[in-house]
């Protein structure tokens, strides 16, 4: 159990690190992917969109299971030996972020007014320049995508538990710690950890809100 302040700090920081990295990686993949899907014309676009939206509900424990298998000793990448490390957790969480960020990005760029898209083209932008400019016009939506992605992984326990293993001092994060404390009957501790979890999420959201509201120049 978590008994000292420095342990609590470690667990909190690890939560932030894993969720933050997964959000950054998932957004780095999901935002460009969503922009391409939203703005390019191609066959099967409707199906790709539907698939993306369906994956919003992708169960964390399933993502954990796949990553677990891949990095387990018998798995194809077992030699890397990263199972039960924060890296494995980040990978599993990234898969949870990607569909959300991709889907919200698709919606955000599609919603950018046609008159803006026409203007950008008329000013002479190439198709890749247009995509970048439209993404910038969709800024509020893109930050929203990151927020929702972060919200999903900071709160999730299934994948973190499965591939992290809740190892004390190594892969224990706030959500898995809460699970453990609850099981051990330390309800007050568990509740306090819950409040820490909420506060951490709140701070990150506040930061992203500021980023979202930032005036573009």
């Amino acid at each position: 159990m978590i008994s000292t302040g420095s342990e609590l700090l470690d667990v909190t920081l690890l939560s932030l690190y894993v969720s933050g990295m997964a959000t950054i990686l998932g957004s780095a993949i999901g935002i460009p992917l969503g922009a391409l899907i939203g703005l390019k014309e191609f066959g099967g676009k409707g199906a790709v969109k539907t698939l993306t939206y369906t994956l919003y509900g992708f169960p964390p424990v399933l993502s954990g299971l796949v990553v677990y298998y891949v990095f387990s000793r018998a798995g194809p990448l077992g030699d890397l030996g990263i199972l039960f490390t924060p890296t494995a957790m980040i990978i599993a969480e990234t898969f949870l972020v990607i569909p959300l960020v991709t889907g919200i990005t698709i919606t955000s760029v599609v919603e950018v007014d046609r008159s803006i898209k026409d203007t950008v083209k008329a000013l002479g932008a190439s198709s890749s320049q247009s995509i970048v400019t439209v993404m910038r016009e969709a800024w509020v939506g893109l930050v929203m995508a990151c927020m929702i992605g972060f919200g999903r992984v900071i709160a999730e326990v299934g994948a973190a538990y499965l591939v992290g293993g809740n190892i004390d001092g190594e892969t224990r994060v706030l959500t898995t710690a809460i699970m453990l404390e609850t099981r051990m009957g330390h309800f007050e501790w568990a509740m306090s950890l819950g409040i820490v979890l909420l506060s951490v999420a709140l701070m990150v959201f506040l930061f992203l809100r500021l980023l979202q509201e930032r005036e573009m120049l």
Binding site: I116, G124, T133, M216
Partner: protein
């Protein structure tokens, strides 16, 4: 006179609506060509097709004597020689200076050169004090002047103007009209096409004018003939009706 823009039997259908029917005409270099007609006649559709924003349902388009197809790779290069002010003035979510610089930035100009040209343009617009403001905070008229400047800042050889002075006071209208005249005078290879509801503006600016009605070109004539002795009764009615106010 060398042709700058040529439409060959161009039609545009949207679902049930025929926005443009079998339009054929040529605009030569050095001309200020006017397109007038009632609301919904298809004026913007013509400009959008010429700027390769819209592909015609039928017919062909030549720019500078060469066939071009919208959405092709070459269309992007051709569009870079054209400056267009769309009917609805839209600014990008960035500063006034960066809105102006956008046209140059995407053409790969270097930063020093962009800063120099944008600076001169801001002074001319009287917006230098607001260069760092987000352009969305400008007034409607200021936005419209910004949109005009942004479309012309890269020295295009063809300028397409869709109601480019619609929301402006007489002083600013005169200012922009002078800029258009100056644009065309500077280089004989330049071409301007103006869509307008304002008959006085057409009379002041255009060398030749087309009346479009319900997707069809009714008449194309030199300014004098268009206003004084048009062939088609509809032209006479349109010109006469408009000049009452």
């Amino acid at each position: 006179m060398k042709p700058a823009i040529c439409l060959e039997g161009v039609s545009k259908k949207y679902d049930q609506i025929v926005a443009l029917r079998d339009a054929s005409f040529t605009v030569s270099k050095g001309e200020v060509f006017g397109i007038v007609g009632p609301s919904g006649a298809g004026k913007s559709t013509i400009l959008r097709i010429v700027d390769l924003l819209e592909a015609p349902t039928e017919g062909k388009l030549l720019i500078d004597g060469q066939y071009v197809v919208a959405n092709s790779v070459r269309a992007e290069a051709v569009r870079r020689k054209i400056g267009m002010v769309l009917q609805k003035p839209v600014v990008l979510n960035r500063s006034v200076a960066n809105n102006l610089g956008y046209s140059l930035m995407i053409r790969g100009w270097n930063e020093d050169r962009i800063a120099e040209v944008v600076d001169a343009e801001l002074r001319r617009l009287g917006l230098n004090g607001r260069r760092k403001t987000n352009a969305r905070n400008l007034s409607g008229g200021e936005m419209q002047r910004l949109c005009f400047a942004r479309a012309a800042i890269h020295d295009p050889s063809i300028l397409l103007l869709d109601e480019f002075a619609a929301n402006l006071d007489p002083t600013n209208v005169a200012l922009l009209e002078n800029q258009v005249q100056e644009f065309i005078r500077k280089d004989p290879n330049r071409t301007v096409v103006i869509v307008t509801h304002n008959m006085f503006q057409a009379k002041r600016m255009c060398t030749r004018i087309a009346l479009i009605w319900d997707g069809e070109i009714v008449e194309i004539a030199d300014r004098k003939k268009f206003f004084e002795s048009p062939d088609d009764a509809r032209t006479a009615a349109f010109v006469g009706g408009e000049s009452i106010y």
